[in-house]
Symmetry: C2
Subunit: 295 residues, 2 copies
């Protein structure tokens, strides 16, 4: 994959996201604005791109993967809105813009998050037009995603993060938080794409290993960015982790060691793709993209 391939998948995801909101005119206006404000706030669409790339790597059809791809971005957006709330991370800036509750008020921000989470499951349960998807595979995708983002996954990770704020968490706790807050969703995106693309058991295992490695790499580089990035390029307040005394990889193992660890994970992710016979160029590109963000 080249950057232009990546951009083309992202354009398809963008179109799918617009279709989803266009087809739901009955959402109350203020709530609708709040939901769309955060969904279209300039995210990199990494998770949906992973769904599409994984589906296509095992010979699947892009059209069949797009609703679930969009659902991942919708779920990701809900987690950002709720994580930013005053009772949680209390952040006022996200992607260069005021956070959802600053812009729309706290009640609407909570409801926008709830509405987006629910919308994601509604979208996944649609049979995509012009694509044949096995309903049994769809049920498995929904189960996989729900497990990944629920109280044993993303929500559990955020809970652990909240409980450890202001404390000096050890490496084990840090790994739990990262694996669950970010890792499970990235792994699930790759797995869901595989399932929708009709992956064999061996291919699914390869994709899951790849997903786990880049999920962790993503968080390592995210921590690095919080130290080396600046608010202008990142579009969010940096140094926030340090201010909140959150445990991070750079704080625990130093900046250079963190980078080495991140690059090693990317290499392992790419190596894990070997058993897949189809075109894995897009997945390799995305693994390297995760690391490039920190350059």
């Amino acid at each position: 994959m080249t950057t232009s391939h990546f951009d083309r998948i992202r354009a398809d995801v963008e179109e799918e996201l617009h279709r989803i909101f266009d087809e739901r005119p009955r959402v109350p206006q203020h709530l609708r604005e709040a939901m769309m404000y955060s969904v279209f706030a300039g995210g990199k669409r990494l998770r949906p791109t992973l769904v599409v790339a994984a589906a296509e790597a095992v010979g699947g059809n892009r059209q069949a993967a797009l609703p679930t791809a969009a659902a991942f971005e919708i779920i990701h957006t809900y987690t950002l809105i709720h994580d930013d709330l005053p009772a949680m991370d209390n952040d006022s800036l996200r992607r260069g813009l005021p956070t959802n509750h600053i812009k729309f008020g706290e009640a609407t921000a909570i409801l926008a998050g709830d509405g987006l989470l629910t919308l994601a499951f509604e979208v996944m349960a649609e049979i995509p037009s012009g694509a044949s998807v096995d309903p049994a595979a769809l049920v498995r995708v929904i189960r996989t995603v729900a497990q990944a983002v629920g109280s044993e996954g993303t929500v559990g990770g955020q809970q652990a993060d909240m409980e450890n704020e202001g404390k000096q968490a050890d490496l084990k706790t840090l790994e739990y938080i990262h694996a669950h807050k970010t890792g499970t969703m990235i792994t699930a995106a790759v797995e869901a794409g595989g399932l929708l693309g009709g992956a064999s058991d061996g291919e699914l295992l390869a994709l899951t290993t790849y997903g786990k490695k880049i999920g962790l790499a993503f968080q390592v580089f995210d921590d690095i960015l919080d130290v080396v990035g600046d608010a202008k390029t990142l579009g969010k307040n940096t140094g926030g982790d340090q201010k909140k005394k959150k445990t991070t990889y750079p704080a625990l193992m130093g900046l250079e060691e963190s980078k080495k660890f991140g690059y090693a994970l990317v290499a392992e992710a790419v190596a894990a793709l070997t058993p897949i016979k189809g075109d894995t160029e897009h997945l390799k590109f995305l693994a390297e993209y995760v690391a490039k963000r920190a350059n």
Copy 2:
């Protein structure tokens, strides 16, 4: 159905809810306690009972309906936790107990709600053990539920409720709020039960009409209870609607007219069941149960 039949369905639902938490030991402890605290806080289990009664009325199997039945109680619980939050209704008492955020803190209450909403979809996407369920029907159930409880349903209703707080809403707005906050979920419970039970199109239409009528009746009697009930029997602060200047049926049409309206809806719900050839006694009992709460 008699009260003892009703109690037996409720016991099965209770067991199913315990199974769901027993099978998920990896939820962080404090979050798990918060989720279970509200799920097992003595709800009447009306929605899951409707799922089971609808499935059985069209000849379906209870085992196949129980996961989705439990999912409805789980979703209902999440809406209560989020509605009670300081940024929303700011309630401190629910079912005679401190509300979730009073007991566990606001961050955990938000996450408990998020975790429960996600758990409901995870549970619906399980193939129930010992029961054969058509995956295509399951996908339709998930889509139906997500539509009912999302931003065009329950979440949209709560948004409209928030926007109209402190205002004197007209009857049209009141009906929108009630239909969406409470009605759509009750209607969807009946519809999901029908789908899982293998209802014909005619039966599904009859069930949906029944569900719409009792959904509205439920809210009418809920408003009446807020006026005539007392905090001790209800387990929540009464007169709250009046204090918050929320528009209610008694405020708009008077107490006696509201009761008449509620009873008429119950009668219409029961009449709607005529096309169903199977045993509709349980559904009739539940329609009357909705009204009896206000006596």
